[in-house]
C-alpha cells in the first residue's frame, strides 16, 4: 500500500515538473539553434550566470529585500484594514447598509486605475507605493472576512444564544474559530495581491530599489537575461508565499476534521 502511494506520489511529481522541463528544453534549443535571436531570448546558462553575478555582488538581494519590505508594509496595512472592515460589515447591519454597496462598486474598479490618483495623493515615492499595495491587499481581506461572518452557521449562533453567551464569548468560542478558514483565504489572497501590486507599483510609479526596478533597468539596457531572471524570482517568491500560507493554515486548522 505504501509502495503504491510512493509510486503515485513519484508519478505526480514527474507530471508536475514535466511542463517546466519541456519549456526549459525548448528555451535552450531555440536560443542555441539560432531560431530565436539570443538577444531576445538568452540561453538558460546566461540567466543562471547572471543570477550568480547579481547574487554575488549583492544587488539582487538588496532589490529583493527592498521589494519584500515594501510588500510587507503594504500587506500589513491593507490586510489589517480589510479585516477590520470585514468584521465591521459582517457584524453590524448598519455598517453593511451604509458601506456595503459602495465597497461592492469599489471592487469593480480595476486596481491599476487607482495608480494615478494615489500617485498624486501620496506621491509616487515610497508612501504612494505602500498605499497602492495596501489597497490591493484590502479588498480580498475585506470580502473574505465579510463573507466569513455571514457564513457562521446558524446552528452555532443558536447554540451561543441557548448558552446565553455574551458578545466576547460568542467571538471567542464560535465566531472566530468558525471564520478561521475564511480569514486564511482572505489573508492568502491579500498576500498574493500585495505581491503583484508591489511589482506593479515598482513598474508604474517612480523607479526605486526593488525587483520591479531591476526589471525596468534590464529592459532599458536591453539585458533580457536580467528581465528573465527577475520574472523567475517573482514566481519563486509568490510560490514561497503560497507554501508558507498553506503550511500555517494546515498547522492551525489541523484539528478541524469535520
Amino acid at each position: 500500500m505504501s509502495a503504491q502511494a510512493a509510486t503515485s506520489r513519484g508519478i505526480r511529481l514527474w507530471r508536475a515538473v514535466a511542463l517546466p522541463l519541456v519549456l526549459l528544453a525548448a528555451w535552450e534549443a531555440s536560443s542555441h539553434s539560432g531560431l530565436v535571436d539570443p538577444h531576445l531570448l538568452p540561453p538558460l546558462e546566461d540567466v543562471v550566470a547572471r543570477a550568480w553575478n547579481e547574487g554575488r555582488n549583492g544587488d539582487l538581494l538588496t532589490a529583493l529585500s527592498a521589494s519584500l519590505g515594501r510588500d510587507l508594509a503594504g500587506f500589513v496595512l491593507g490586510a489589517a484594514a480589510g479585516t477590520a472592515a470585514g468584521l465591521l460589515l459582517g457584524f453590524s447591519r448598519f455598517a453593511e447598509n451604509l458601506l456595503g454597496p459602495t465597497l461592492r462598486v469599489h471592487r469593480q474598479i480595476a486596481l491599476f486605475a487607482w495608480v494615478p490618483l494615489i500617485a498624486v495623493w501620496f506621491g509616487a515615492g515610497e508612501p504612494g507605493k505602500i498605499a497602492f499595495i495596501a489597497l490591493a491587499a484590502f479588498q480580498p481581506g475585506l470580502i473574505n472576512i465579510w463573507r466569513g461572518v455571514q457564513e457562521i452557521p446558524q446552528r452555532y449562533r443558536e447554540l451561543a444564544a441557548v448558552l446565553t453567551f455574551g458578545r466576547l464569548d460568542f467571538l471567542r468560542f464560535v465566531a472566530i474559530p468558525a471564520m478561521l478558514p475564511a480569514i486564511f483565504t482572505g489573508l492568502k489572497a491579500a498576500l498574493i495581491y500585495a505581491w503583484q501590486a508591489t511589482i506593479g507599483a515598482e513598474l508604474f510609479m517612480t523607479i526605486a530599489p526593488g525587483i520591479g526596478g531591476v526589471m525596468m533597468q534590464g529592459r532599458q539596457l536591453f539585458q533580457m537575461d536580467l528581465v528573465l531572471l527577475t520574472i523567475l524570482l517573482l514566481g519563486l517568491v509568490g510560490a514561497g508565499f503560497n507554501t508558507l500560507a498553506g503550511l500555517s493554515e494546515t498547522l492551525l486548522l489541523r484539528r478541524r476534521l469535520s
Binding site: 446552528r155 452555532y156 444564544a161 441557548v162 446565553t164 464569548d169 474559530p177 476534521l257 469535520s258
Partner: protein, 287 residues
Amino acid sequence: MTDLHLANHLHAIDIASLATEEPTAAPGNTVLSLSQVSKTFHVAGRAVEALSDISLDIAEGEFVSIVGASGCGKSTLLRLILGLDRAYQGSILLDGKPIRKPGLDRGIVFQEHRLLPWLSVEANVAVALRRSKFSPRQKRDTVRSHLELVGLEKFAEAYPAQLSGGMQQRVAIARALVNRPPFLLLDEPLGALDALTRLRLQDELKRIVRHEGITAVLVTHDVDEAVYLGDRIVIMQPHPGRIAGILPVGLPANRNRSDAAFLRLRDHVLGQLGVGHEPAAAIRAAE
C-alpha cells in the same frame, strides 16, 4: 371510499373524546404552562399557521413526549419554549413567568449534536458553564462528573470528529445537563442515529433523566421512543400544527417494549397519527 370516511369520522370522535377525557392539566405541580399558543410563519407573502391553539401544562419531574409527523410544528414549539423565537400569540409561562429569552434553566439537545468542532469533548461541555458562577475547580469537577454520567470520561481530550454519532450525542447531553437545569428539552435527539444506538441511548436518556430528577420534554417522530420514555404523550397533527390528543402512559418505569400493554398503547398512538391498525380495528368494532 365510504370506509375511509367512516374511519376519519370515527377517528375524529376518538380524538374529540380524548381531548375532553384527558385535560391539558398536568397531574402534579405545574412548572411549564402553555396556553392557547399560536404561531404563524410568513412564507413568500403567505401566512402559514405552524401552531394553532396549543395548551399544555407540564408538571415538575414529568417526562413528556411530543410525537407527530414532520411539519406538525413540534420543533417550533420547542424553539418557543427555548426562547429562541418570541413572535407568537398566547402565553408560555415557566414557573409562572413568561419566557422572554433563552436561559440556563433550560438545557437543550438538538437533533444534530452541534458540538463545536474546534473544541475537545471536555471543552465542549465546559463551554456551557461560561455563565456559571462556579469556581474553575468546581467547573472542572462538574464537567468531569457529567462526562462520567454519559460514560465518556475517557474521551475528554478527543475532538468531536473523532467520535461516533452516538458518542457525539452523549456529549451534547452532558453539555445540556452540566448547568443542572430544571428543564431538559430534547429535539429529536436520537433521530439521526442508527437503530441499535438509538435503543441504547433511549435507555441512557431514561436513566440520566431519572438520575437528575429533572423535567423533560422530548420531541420525536418515533412513536416507540415516545411511549418508551414518556410519562405522557402529546400527539400532534400538522396543517395547522395542533394537539390531537394527550395520553397518560401509565406503564411502569421499567417498560418492556414487547409487553402487550406497551404495544397496545403504541398502536393507539399510531392510530391517532393516522397510521397503523387502530382505525381499521375501530371500523371492525363498529360493524
